[in-house]
């Protein structure tokens, strides 16, 4: 109930936007090759639901594998960087610079290098999503207040104990905000990768719809992929809430 009230203004705006769009298409009689009405998009979604579902599953699979590996990879790298100042100073500028590379352009090359199996797609997803997480993890570790560190050192803690008992938990909030940013890109990156070469997936579907002059189906698939991202973000929010120690405690006690 409260969330309905909270979302009410958004829903009003969204409805207004869709109504104007639908009305514009109806009035100007623009070709549906160029600008399909929202109702055309929904109709396409319904008619093609089985096909779209199959492609969606493929995309989701790749995105989840890539994203999970990316999370693991980000943890490993962040720990390495945390413990080696030299590596951190060396890698950070390179990682920042690497974000300026237009990965779009690399995607076709990656298919050449790694074939059109899972590998290049997963790699691309990792490339795109891993940076925000590494950055948020390392800055999360660094956000550990000096005094917390001092407290543990004075108790005789080793570097590893300090990391595990203080740096890691104190990076939690920042890790999740990095995760959220990454998740926003995970699906989009997968679609990209599929553009460059795949058997199936939403990217392939969009490509085919475009080549067959079906703007309505392009938008249907775009809509599905936006929904996928929203679902992913919601799941992450849920995980964040449920893994809070306090939450667990309150719900078990």
């Amino acid at each position: 109930m409260t969330s309905v009230r909270y979302l009410f203004p958004s829903l009003v705006l969204l409805a207004a936007f869709l109504a104007i769009w639908e009305g514009y298409v109806a009035l100007t009689d623009v070709s549906s090759l160029v600008l399909p009405a929202p109702s055309d998009v929904l109709n396409g979604l319904w008619v093609e639901r089985y096909v779209i579902a199959r492609h969606t599953l493929a995309t989701l699979g790749v995105a989840l594998v890539g994203f999970s590996l990316s999370v693991i990879f980000a943890f490993v790298v962040s720990i390495l960087l945390h413990f080696s100042g030299w590596l951190r100073r060396g890698m950070m500028p390179l990682l920042v610079a690497s974000q300026t590379v237009p990965i779009v352009a690399l995607a076709p090359l990656m298919v050449l290098w790694f074939g059109f199996g899972l590998l290049p797609k997963v790699l691309l997803v990792i490339l795109v999503t891993f940076f925000p997480m590494v950055v948020s993890l390392t800055s999360g570790y660094a956000s550990l207040p000096r005094a917390f560190r001092d407290q543990l050192v004075s108790m005789g803690a080793t570097r590893w104990v300090i990391f595990r008992r203080a740096a890691l938990p104190s990076a939690r909030a920042q890790f999740f905000s990095g995760l959220r940013i990454s998740a926003t890109y995970a699906i989009v990156a997968t679609i990209f990768a599929e553009y460059a070469g795949a058997r199936r997936g939403l990217g392939i579907y969009i490509l085919a719809a475009k080549n067959n002059f079906r703007a309505d189906l392009v938008l249907s698939a775009v809509f599905v992929s936006a929904c996928l991202t929203l679902v992913l973000l919601t799941v992450i929010k849920g995980i964040k809430r449920m893994t809070r120690r306090r939450y667990r405690r309150e719900n078990n006690a």
């Binding site: 070709s31 549906s32 090759l33 160029v34 055309d40 109709n43 396409g44 008619v47 093609e48 076709p108 298919v111 050449l112 074939g115 059109f116 599929e194 553009y195 460059a196 070469g197 795949a198 058997r199 392939i204 490509l207 085919a208 475009k210 080549n211 067959n212 002059f213 079906r214 309505d216």
Partner: protein, 300 residues
């Protein structure tokens, strides 16, 4: 339809030799981009477009308000290509169960399935959509076959010494199509017929000149575009001239053959790959003579 190549030779020649300027036209050739030229034309973003045959037909089937004025290739330049070293393939029927590197258009499936079935096989093969990566994937053996344009990718493969064999569509039940349409918006035929005529006349002169002087035309093309691989252009032009693609000597350059257009369109409709908004295959409109208009050829 694609990055500047020898298919566009007449346009470039007409521009470089100022045929357009002589008609009082200012023509800008836009580079290839990810948005299909057919769609751009249908949306009114450009006045004329160079379109693949199947792209044009698919769009027409979807009621795009466009009309063809010209066709470049009198012979089908497309063909199905596979590695010569792959001894499991000797005829289209062998493609059953193989992997195809595709480009994401519906008609590809119609074409390949027809070939396999007409050769007595079952059209059950795996598709990987790769785009241009297809040729590298084929060379590395990651896929078994793909489609190519003989006058471009074919020349490139020959230049870098790849051993590849091919099947010609027409040999296996696919109607022989003309390739590479130039078209305009239907509305423009009404509103500005003079421009259309002027443009097309100049274009025809360009292609005729190119057909007559293929090697000089290649040099003009090389000078006009930023071609990283000039040998490719020369080789391609030579093939176009030798293969009689622009003209077989009898038919005028650019003439649209209604019979072949109808057969090909009918083939597309019958294959059931073209679908409407309700998800059902489109019904054959019965007549496609309204799809093209070559009255400009005689208007002057």
């Amino acid at each position: 339809d694609w990055t500047l190549n020898t298919n566009h030779i007449g346009l470039v020649v007409a521009q470089q030799k100022e045929f357009y300027a002589q008609e009082g036209l200012e023509v800008e050739i836009l580079p290839y981009s990810d948005t299909a030229s057919t769609a751009l034309l249908a949306a009114g973003a450009v006045d004329f477009a160079y379109m693949t045959a199947l792209g044009f037909m698919s769009a027409k089937a979807g009621q795009a308000p466009i009309t063809a004025l010209w066709v470049t290739m009198q012979n089908e330049a497309g063909r199905l290509v596979y590695n010569s070293g792959n001894d499991t393939i000797s005829r289209p029927a062998d493609l059953e169960g193989k992997t195809y590197a595709g480009f994401g258009s519906a008609w590809e499936d119609a074409l390949i399935s027809t070939m396999i079935e007409n050769d007595g096989g079952i059209a059950d093969y795996d598709t990987v959509t790769l785009g241009t990566g297809a040729y590298e994937a084929l060379a590395s053996g990651a896929v078994d076959f793909t489609l190519e344009v003989a006058t471009w990718e074919g020349v490139n493969s020959a230049l870098i010494g790849r051993e590849q064999s091919h099947f010609v569509y027409a040999d296996y039940g696919v109607p022989e199509a003309q390739g590479g349409y130039i078209g305009t918006q239907t509305a423009m035929l009404e509103s500005d017929p003079d421009t259309v005529v002027a443009f097309m006349q100049a274009t025809r002169r360009g292609y005729e000149w190119a057909a007559a002087n293929p090697l000089e035309a290649a040099e003009i093309l090389i000078k006009a575009g930023d071609f990283p691989n000039e040998q490719l252009v020369r080789g391609s032009m030579r093939l176009i001239a030798d293969g009689g693609y622009l003209t077989d000597g009898n038919t005028p350059v650019g003439l649209i053959d209604e019979v072949r257009l109808t057969t090909m369109a009918q083939f597309l409709f019958n294959s059931g790959v073209l679908r409407g908004a309700d998800g059902q295959p489109l019904a054959w409109p019965g007549d496609v003579s309204g799809w093209f208009d070559q009255s400009w050829m005689t208007d002057r």
